[in-house]
């Protein structure tokens, strides 16, 4: 059996994690495994170094970002948050989604960067709220069914954020 990302960084498998510990342990692993440490080593060691440093980067990014962390935690509990059979979403959130999308399109059409920035901040605040919900659902209630729904909302919001960034970039 191979170690999961939490075990790799010596962390408990919870949604709420101490980011400073994650960062410290990530750096400890990189300090030992980064290819820069193996420039004059044998090719066997270079290969191992590349593999471990790559794994550490992947694991670190997954746990650092709340949406991918939630998705990964669900996966550890046998739930695929983004599978095709897992698409149900509450009606009010669907309505909300459409409004955000419309605001994004209108602001892009009007080349209104500040409106896009306002929307971006709104989405970030919304994401913060969802993270608080996830703390409760994952770590207190262990309610993975609702955690899954909330995770999908968070993934969706991340996507809108990326699209807003993209729209701002195009106008810049």
């Amino acid at each position: 059996m191979s170690l999961n990302y939490y075990q790799l960084f010596d962390l408990q498998p919870t949604f709420n994690i101490v980011l400073a510990t994650l960062e410290t342990n990530y750096r400890k692993i990189q300090s030992e495994s980064h290819p820069d440490r193996f420039v004059t080593a044998t090719s066997a060691e270079k290969l191992k170094s590349m593999q471990l440093a790559t794994l550490a980067n992947e694991a670190y990014q997954t746990l650092k970002n709340p949406a991918s962390r939630a998705q990964y935690l669900l996966e550890l509990n046998g739930i695929n948050a983004i599978s095709e059979s897992n698409t149900s979403m509450p009606a009010d959130f669907l309505m909300q989604q459409m409004e955000w999308r419309e605001t994004l399109e209108d602001a892009s059409m009007a080349k209104n960067v500040s409106a896009l920035e306002v929307l971006f901040d709104e989405m970030r605040a919304e994401a913060k709220n969802l993270q608080i919900d996830l703390n409760r659902l994952f770590d207190e209630k262990k309610d993975y069914v609702h955690a899954c729904e909330t995770t999908r909302k968070l993934i969706f919001i991340d996507k809108v954020c990326a699209d807003i960034q993209h729209a701002i970039e195009r106008l810049d």
């Binding site: 170690l3 004059t40 044998t42 066997a44 810049d172």
Partner: protein, 634 residues
């Protein structure tokens, strides 16, 4: 012939010997070489006391090559054979060069405009890679002389060579090829702003989030780094690999042309010599305007007419306003990618000679709302950082606390249906990074597929740079959609891509045919190496043998040291097997058979695979205070 000195197994050859390594800033306008001497990073000077080597190469009628100031002085007299700013053409094809008309070189038209470009000189066709190799050779010779390499004070282990952070895969590969042609072992390609951050950060014991604004002769980079206790973590990078001080010269040049046209109605287009002359005058005027209100530009053209114009600082600022603004767009992008506000930036470090221009400093200050840091020489800071990194890479730093975590500047993607790009590795991913993507077949019995890899941020394949087209062959014939081909993209610490593929259902390793759409083929490099080393077959053989022996010596020493430290991680039997391979390779090294020595190196490498994994796990376990990582599935 000198015999190789080999120490007893279990003892390192020379425990406290300082290993020689250099850092090279291969710039568009100037290049430098630096090293760490008694703990201090120092730029090495030539015999005239010059630190900066102008990146200008002149091919002489007698077949010799002149690099640096002497070549630069002849630029106007012999423009077609005196190449400056070759870095701008690295990894580029003719179709990438926007304003050929203003560049005084004879580009060779090739039937295929996507082929790497070549320049016609009296020394024959030259690629930018070969021209850069000539610059690197000069720097290498300077370093070897200064470090006393041939005087018995050890040998040069290798070099860290800096590249603009925004260089793509083709440009990085071209730089590595140039080093190889120059006979330099590349320890690492290091991003210029990261190198500058290392030099600045260590010098000032800086902690916090810093922006490196690096406007060089031909390239612009902006990187945002978090500095914590010797760890330099790049949060985001952006830039423009075709924007630099050269463009400011060019604006002045165009302005001079306009002035000439105004005063002379029967104006004829300029020849190569006059173009080069005016570009030189433009550069001098730009530099003069850093400390003065106006610059007088006086010169005589080849037709005898006199140019005498005066450019004011205010006019210069107006002429170049767009160029300065062009640097702010990547800066904003990097800030957004790093998800930072201006208040979170602790300092902005200016790098590159072009940041001496007052209007550039002002623009940076206006945007970041703080005075930029200029207490390091903007010309030298990159080379110094590279030297510090080189010194650490060869193991001279005992504290082991310097760690650079850099990122990939551009997204990597694949061509999908309809010429769209599917992003595989997003920009600003920390290196090394790997991503796997599964593919399947479209038709029954399909046994091959073609995959195009592109680099860039745009949605259409046509707007991105094509890196390579891979053909996967040997896929077992199955029904359409049944095969599962997993293609893995790995970007290494140099920012270079490699690809491997495997059919999942049968676990047949699909054969990957790499057809790079850029770069030099292995044959071309061998050909160039051959011609640059006098082409004699005996020379080539001697060189191969010397290289094989150096490699053998290096691996024997690495494994011997590893065994003495961590020999208890493996069984006595495994240890004996490794020692047997060491003995065999030591014997082989005494022979004159390069091929046999290389085979011995491969065998020793193979014998140490399990040992390498055990050491890696042990060292990470130690770092995480005793956590057992034996079960990491690598």
């Amino acid at each position: 012939m000198a015999l190789l000195q080999i120490s007893e197994p279990g003892q390192s050859a020379a425990p406290h010997q300082h290993k020689l390594a250099i850092g090279i800033d291969l710039g568009t306008t100037n290049s430098l070489v630096a090293t760490v001497k008694s703990g201090m990073a120092t730029v090495l000077q030539d015999e005239h006391g010059h630190a900066l080597l102008p990146s200008v190469v002149r091919y002489m009628p007698d077949g010799s090559v002149v690099v640096g100031h002497e070549a630069q002085a002849q630029q106007s007299h012999d423009p077609a054979n005196t190449i400056a700013s070759a870095k701008r053409f690295m990894g580029r094809s003719l179709k990438d060069i926007a304003d050929r008309a203003h560049i005084p070189y004879s580009f060779v038209d090739s039937a295929d405009s996507s082929k790497l470009l070549q320049l016609q000189t009296r020394a024959g066709l030259k690629t930018p890679v070969e021209i850069s190799a000539d610059i690197l050779k000069t720097l290498k010779a300077r370093a070897e002389k200064s470090l006393g390499v041939d005087g018995g004070r050890g040998e040069l282990l290798g070099a860290v060579i800096t590249v603009p952070a925004y260089f793509d895969d083709a440009q990085r590969q071209a730089t590595k090829d140039a080093a190889r042609l120059a006979g330099l072992n590349v320890l690492r390609l290091l991003n210029e702003p990261t190198a500058a951050a290392v030099a600045y950060g260590l010098d000032n014991a800086a902690e916090g989030t810093f922006v490196i604004y690096d406007l060089g002769g031909g390239t612009f980079d902006v990187s945002i780094l978090k500095l914590t206790k010797g760890v330099f973590e790049v949060l985001a990078t952006n830039g423009d690999s075709a924007l630099g001080g050269d463009d400011f010269d060019h604006r002045i040049y165009c302005w001079i042309l306009d002035k000439i046209r105004e005063s002379n109605s029967d104006f004829t287009p300029l020849g190569e010599q006059d173009t080069r002359l005016l570009l030189t005058k433009a550069r001098q005027a730009k530099e003069w305007l850093t400390d003065n209100h106006e610059a007088q530009i006086v010169c005589r053209l080849s037709n005898g007419s006199l140019v005498d114009v005066t450019l004011s600082a205010t006019q210069f600022v107006e002429l170049t306003q767009q160029l300065v603004l062009k640097t702010l767009s990547p800066t904003r992008k990097a800030m957004r990618d790093a998800n930072l506000t201006l208040e979170e930036i602790k300092g902005v470090v200016l790098v590159g000679g072009a940041t001496r221009m007052p209007q550039v400093r002002q623009a940076v200050e206006d945007y970041f709302k703080q005075t930029p840091l200029t207490n390091l020489d903007p010309d030298k800071v990159v080379a110094l950082g590279a030297a510090i990194q080189a010194n650490a890479l060869v193991g001279n730093r005992s504290d082991n606390d310097l760690l650079l975590l850099d990122v990939t500047p551009l997204s990597l993607g694949l061509e999908t249906m309809g010429g769209l790009v599917e992003k595989i590795i997003p920009r600003n991913s920390t290196l090394p990074v790997a991503r796997a993507q599964d593919f399947t077949t479209y038709k029954n019995g399909q046994t091959a597929m073609s995959i195009q890899v592109v680099q860039g941020e745009r949605e259409l394949v046509a707007d991105c740079r094509s890196l390579a087209r891979f053909e996967l062959r040997g896929i077992p014939a199955m029904a359409a959609g049944a095969a599962r081909i997993r293609v893995t993209f790995q970007v290494d610490a140099d920012g270079l891509l490699s690809v491997s593929a495997r059919e999942q259902t049968t676990s047949i390793e699909a054969h990957v045919v790499v057809k790079p759409s850029y770069g030099l083929s292995e044959d071309e490099i061998t050909q160039m190496l051959k011609s640059s080393f006098g082409s004699a077959e005996a020379d080539k053989k001697a060189r191969m043998l010397a290289e094989a022996r150096v490699n053998a010596g290096a691996i024997i020493s690495a494994v011997t040291i590893a065994l003495s430290h961590d020999g208890d991680l493996i069984t006595a039997e495994e240890k004996l097997a490794i020692e047997a391979e060491i003995g065999a390779l030591q014997t082989l090294s005494l022979s004159d058979d390069a091929v046999a020595i290389n085979k011995g190196v491969d065998k020793l490498n193979h014998a140490t695979e399990a040992f390498a994994a055990a050491r890696m796990n042990a060292s990470v376990s130690r770092a995480l205070s005793g956590k057992n990582l034996d079960s990491i599935n690598l």
